[in-house]
């Protein structure tokens, strides 16, 4: 145990939270309240959309309220609700093999669409299918359309098969934005598109993105003042969802940076649910999404061993900013296109592998851990090869655990813990052999 607290803890309680976390919680609560209000008084139009490739700055230009089914699913998973939702969707005909994010969402809808805040969420007026880095998104929103019978608009974001964004890809996305997505948002909202409004949101986004990168790159320090996977989930929350491009989002990152900077000045490690980590024994890079159904239990397996995640790919799934990309008010639609095209799962396997290899070197990590998600082929297909490649290139040990995002049936605590303990022993052996 390497945190300041030693006594046994109740994993359902006793959570320590930073001020920035509380601020974010309030922002999320506010958005859920808007969605609940939209259900009650129908004053605001509601647009459902996805995290990767989200067009939040554009959506906000139309005075609509955004709803993110993935966020609902993960919030519900943390509240231990998704097991029932997944089974509800399977009872309604969804196959056991398919994406559990989809099933959690469909199950929630079938059970009354009661959101994580306990109130019924408004039905969508428009499904904005930004189809970036994941084929399942396409079927997911077709399934929602099948249920809601509402308007849908689709943005097809080409895959970076050759590891680069071409002008043809950018032009294709921009043309879709101009001729499909913006007109659909205008029709739904009754609000005319104002590009200067978009520029203003993009300007605000860039500020938040600067700060986010500053926070994430602080993990290069020893000890790392942050955890880039479990903690990283909270750090990316506002930029990945309904808040990017708002002054509140920028304020969140200012507050977050102040906290992180304070820890840097004190030479402190990251904050865990049980307090500040006192000893950093292992520095890891993690590939793959989180498990949300047992997040705290999963995290505890790391911090109990003194393991800090210094970089993760999951925190790039809703935007990849470390290579220098920022939303650009001077090239509004083009920069939205580049944002969508650059999200992590839209990168090809060689680019993903190179990125992880760089993380291992730049963050002076001890090794790579892959959390392979049963129901996310976009991430998972090819991970074993990536693991072998990275071991070969860096000489650092890699390990593999399997869980799921939101289906509790696929989280086996003893298996995961055993694997992690063996992995940490492997890191120790490598060190002693060096």
């Amino acid at each position: 145990m390497t945190t300041e607290k030693k006594a046994p803890v109740d994993l359902s309680k006793d959570v320590q939270k930073d001020a920035s976390q509380l601020l974010q919680k309030e922002m999320i609560r506010g958005n859920y309240e808007r969605l609940a209000q939209a259900e009650e008084n129908h004053k605001e139009k509601v647009v459902y959309t996805f995290v990767p490739g989200n067009l939040n700055e554009l959506v906000m230009c139309f005075d609509v309220v955004g709803n993110y089914p993935e966020i609902n699913a993960l919030q519900s998973a943390m509240q231990k609700k998704t097991g029932a939702y997944v089974m509800e969707a399977e009872r309604a005909g969804q196959d056991e093999d398919v994406c559990t994010y989809v099933k959690a969402d469909l199950g929630m809808m079938r059970k009354g669409n009661i959101g994580p805040a306990g109130k019924k969420l408004a039905d969508p007026d428009l499904l904005l299918l930004s189809y970036t880095g994941c084929f399942t998104f396409m079927k997911w929103f077709e399934l929602l359309r099948h249920e809601y019978k509402c308007d849908t608009t689709m943005l097809h974001v080409p895959y970076q098969g050759d590891g680069e964004i071409t002008q043809s890809m950018r032009d294709y996305v921009v043309k879709q934005l101009k001729e499909e997505v913006i007109p659909a948002l205008e029709r739904t909202s009754g609000v005319k598109f104002d590009i200067d409004r978009l520029r203003e949101h993009l300007r605000e986004s860039a500020k938040a993105e600067d700060k986010l990168v500053q926070v994430l790159e602080s993990a290069k320090l020893k000890p790392s003042p942050i955890d880039s996977y479990f903690g990283g989930l909270y750090y990316v929350g506002p930029t990945f969802s309904a808040f990017r491009g708002t002054p509140e989002c920028t304020a969140y990152y200012d507050a977050l940076w102040d906290e992180v900077n304070e820890r840097i000045q004190k030479g402190q490690g990251p904050v865990t649910p049980e307090g500040v980590m006192t000893e950093e024994k292992y520095r890891l890079v993690v590939e793959g999404p989180l498990n949300y159904t047992h997040m705290r239990e999963f995290w505890k397996m790391f911090y109990d061993e003194g393991a800090v995640v210094v970089a993760s790919s999951y925190t790039k799934v809703g935007g990849n900013y470390e290579q220098g990309f920022r939303h650009d008010p001077d090239n509004p639609l083009e920069s939205l296109a580049d944002y969508c095209l650059g999200c992590y799962t839209n990168l090809n396997l060689p680019s993903r592998t190179k990125m992880l290899e760089n993380y291992l070197n730049d963050y002076e990590a001890d090794g790579l851990l892959i959390n392979s998600i049963k129901s996310c082929n976009s991430f998972s297909a090819g991970q074993l090869l990536m693991m072998n490649e990275i071991e070969k290139r860096t000489g650092k040990p890699a390990a593999f655990v399997e869980t799921d995002l939101v289906d509790p049936r696929y989280f086996s605590p003893s298996n995961v813990k055993n694997r992690l303990e063996s992995y940490f022993q492997m890191v120790d052996q490598k060190r002693s052999a060096a």
């Binding site: 969804q94 398919v98 077709e142 080409p158 396997l349 297909a381 090819g382």
Partner: protein, 386 residues
């Protein structure tokens, strides 16, 4: 040439995991090149116009033991990527200079990256066909994608592909498409005379042979089938859906027919039938291919359906046109597109009072009895109660 002789040749091609026919084609003349592609659709006309052989790669089937390929994929990922990489790692694709990975799903998409990392001497291209079906948007993007593919192929051959080359290839593939459509139409008329296994094997042969040779084979088979008279059974006519990528074992297809079903339409080898109309044979060839793709593409679970009203319309049309009495959904295990699409299609069929059943398989499924029983019960229930 009789049908038996043709089908025996097709079966030999189907079973040959060394792709000897394609190797022989390549060896026949210096400077020939072979470009592999995965399901569902690539514009094969481009490969042909570049003087190359398009080779359809449909996994390793049920005859190949997958050893190395299993180390690449977790247990919850379908079988086709692991058997496909096994083909490469065991040298069975060592004569293939390029591989195209069409946009079907995340697994095949990522397989393009596996290829880039492991087969470094091979030209690898992910073929991102548009999901936007507006000629000025998706159409333009698709033309550019095809231009980039042509540049890649020209890099292999060292030969510029002209518009005339492309138009000549379009003509040949139009002939091929018409022959295939003719065969499917004949099968609807006389399903007892044209077993589904024979149709399937003819389609698979077309994935290995040059189109010119396949056209001759198809013409010969269609001519010869007129001399065949097989006993007509009281089978139930069905459409099969969901088998567009990882292929079912031949025995599974045979079992469906043996269980009392005539398969009168299917989505097995869609690259042959993706474009539902001829491509224009004059003018700008790439534009013609793009326009035909935009206007006349087959709708599958790997494509986005912009209109809720049109969801499943092609499947219902296939049922009506073929006189089928039901639909059998058969999807590979862990196939996200087919399995996510299925409940929506089932709703559409239910709304149209079209009976349907569903099961899953893998390309190496060995136990046919449960499938035979399920399909047999389905066929009987239609005969008894519909």
């Amino acid at each position: 040439m009789g049908t038996q002789e043709i089908i025996e040749r097709c079966e030999a091609i189907h079973e040959d995991l060394n792709f000897t026919a394609a190797r022989d084609w390549k060896a026949a003349e210096p400077g020939r090149h072979v470009i592999g592609h995965l399901p569902i659709y690539v514009p094969r006309e481009l490969i042909h116009a570049a003087g190359m052989l398009p080779l359809g790669i449909y996994g390793g089937g049920d005859q190949m033991e997958v050893i190395q390929g299993d180390a690449f994929y977790q247990s919850y990922i379908c079988r086709i990527p692991r058997s496909t990489i096994e083909l490469a790692l065991t040298g069975r694709l060592d004569f293939v200079e390029g591989m195209l990975f069409p946009s079907i799903c995340d697994v095949i998409r990522n397989l393009s990256g596996v290829w880039k990392l492991t087969q470094k001497d091979t030209y690898v291209r992910y073929m991102d066909v548009p999901q936007n079906y507006d000629k000025e948007i998706g159409g333009r993007f698709y033309i550019r994608e095809m231009q980039e593919l042509l540049e890649g192929l020209e890099g292999i051959s060292g030969r510029k592909v002209t518009n005339e080359d492309l138009l000549a290839s379009i003509k040949l593939f139009n002939v091929n498409r018409r022959l295939i459509n003719q065969l499917y139409a004949m099968r609807i008329e006389q399903p007892w005379n044209i077993p589904v296994t024979e149709v399937y094997l003819l389609m698979r042969a077309g994935q290995v042979l040059p189109v010119e040779e396949h056209n001759v084979m198809m013409t010969d088979y269609i001519a010869a089938i007129g001399d065949v008279e097989r006993p007509q059974k009281d089978n139930t006519k069905v459409v099969m859906n969901g088998m567009f990528c990882e292929q079912p074992p031949l025995n599974l297809i045979r079992s469906i027919e043996l269980s009392g079903c005539y398969v009168v339409d299917d989505d097995f080898i869609l690259v042959n039938r993706w474009l539902r109309e001829d491509v224009k044979e004059e003018g700008d060839a790439l534009k013609n291919l793009s326009d035909c793709f935009i206007d006349h593409s087959t709708r599958t679970s790997a494509t986005y359906e912009p209109s809720e009203e049109l969801k499943g319309a092609q499947l219902v049309e296939a049922v009506r046109k073929s006189g089928a009495e039901g639909v059998i959904f058969a999807a590979p295990s862990f196939c996200d597109p087919a399995l996510l699409e299925r409940p929506m299609l089932q709703d559409v069929l239910d709304a149209n009072n079209i009976p349907n059943i569903a099961f899953k398989y893998a390309e190496n499924t060995g136990q046919m009895q449960p499938i035979r029983e399920q399909a047999g019960t389905f066929a009987d229930s239609i005969k008894l109660w519909s």
